[in-house]
């Protein structure tokens, strides 16, 4: 009776060890899947926010009259929450670049690039063009 009880205990322990091994292998695989899902999620959130920042900057820049558009090519520094920040504390950079200086009666290209300050990699780039009429010199 006693021998039989010890035998069952041993079987139980062996089963427990095997299950812990099995669970650790499975958990290692599943953790990788969870990390991958987190990575995807962070990438898509970053891209969505970069799109919004680039679009709003593009709309704002395209609506500027010629006199203000001439001085609009600049770098805007943004913090982790996409609010305006200093260069030293910035997490993202928004570059507004005209291909040529905007002038009356001229078609000019506008490129807006959202960069990561840490790596310098471009997250999102938006390209468009703007024509300023010769007579009015304002937004068309």
């Amino acid at each position: 009776m006693n021998r039989q009880g010890i035998s069952r205990g041993q079987i139980f322990l062996v089963e427990l060890i095997l299950m812990i091994l099995f669970f650790s292998v499975t958990a290692a695989v599943l953790l990788q899947v969870f990390f991958k899902a987190r990575e995807y999620s962070m990438d898509s959130a970053l891209l969505s926010k970069a799109i919004i920042a680039a679009e709003s900057t593009a709309d704002r820049t395209l609506a500027l009259p010629l006199s203000d558009a001439k001085n609009s090519g600049d770098v805007v520094y943004l913090d982790e929450n996409w609010n305006a920040a200093d260069e030293s504390s910035s997490a993202y950079e928004l570059h507004v670049q005209w291909t040529e200086e905007p002038a009356a009666g001229q078609l000019t290209g506008l490129t807006i690039t959202v960069l990561s300050s840490e790596t310098g990699d471009a997250i999102y780039t938006l390209e468009t063009k703007k024509y300023y009429s010769a007579n009015e010199g304002g937004a068309v």
């Binding site: 079987i11 499975t26 899947v33 891209l47 679009e55 999102y124 390209e127």
Partner: protein, 130 residues
């Protein structure tokens, strides 16, 4: 009198618990990966759409500059043009000619190709209203 060492847990119970927990975690991991992947694809589609929109907007500005130049040369440019964004959508731009200059009167997104509703067979007795 000898006492027997009986285990309070039966053999096989850890296996059942571990298999159950593993199945739950696997389901959760698969669902979170699928959701994150779908979100990522949606963000990429949104990025592509936004790029296409601003490219069309740039093309419209280019057309405006060409029309302005044509007007200066004494030719009459066409006043409406569509700039495609995708297979089914376009940016419709209308010009207004004022004297020797032209300006954009309106620009709006229009659907260039409607869904062919007849290709979908009605199911469950529902009615497709175009």
């Amino acid at each position: 009198m000898k006492t027997t060492n009986k285990m309070c847990f039966g053999v096989g119970l850890p296996s059942i618990i571990v298999i159950f927990v593993t199945l739950c975690l696997t389901t959760l991991a698969a669902l979170s990966l699928m959701t994150a992947s779908a979100d990522n694809k949606l963000a990429e589609k949104s990025a592509a759409y936004s790029e296409a929109y601003y490219t069309a907007l740039g093309e419209a500005q280019e057309w405006l500059s060409q029309s302005d130049a044509m007007l200066q040369a004494g030719e009459m440019p066409e006043t409406t043009k569509n700039f495609p964004l995708s297979d089914r959508q376009a940016l419709a731009v209308t010009l207004q000619i004022a004297g020797s200059r032209c300006r954009i009167e309106s620009q709006k997104l229009v659907v260039t190709e409607q869904w062919n509703y007849d290709q979908y067979a009605p199911q469950y007795g529902d009615i497709i209203v175009p």
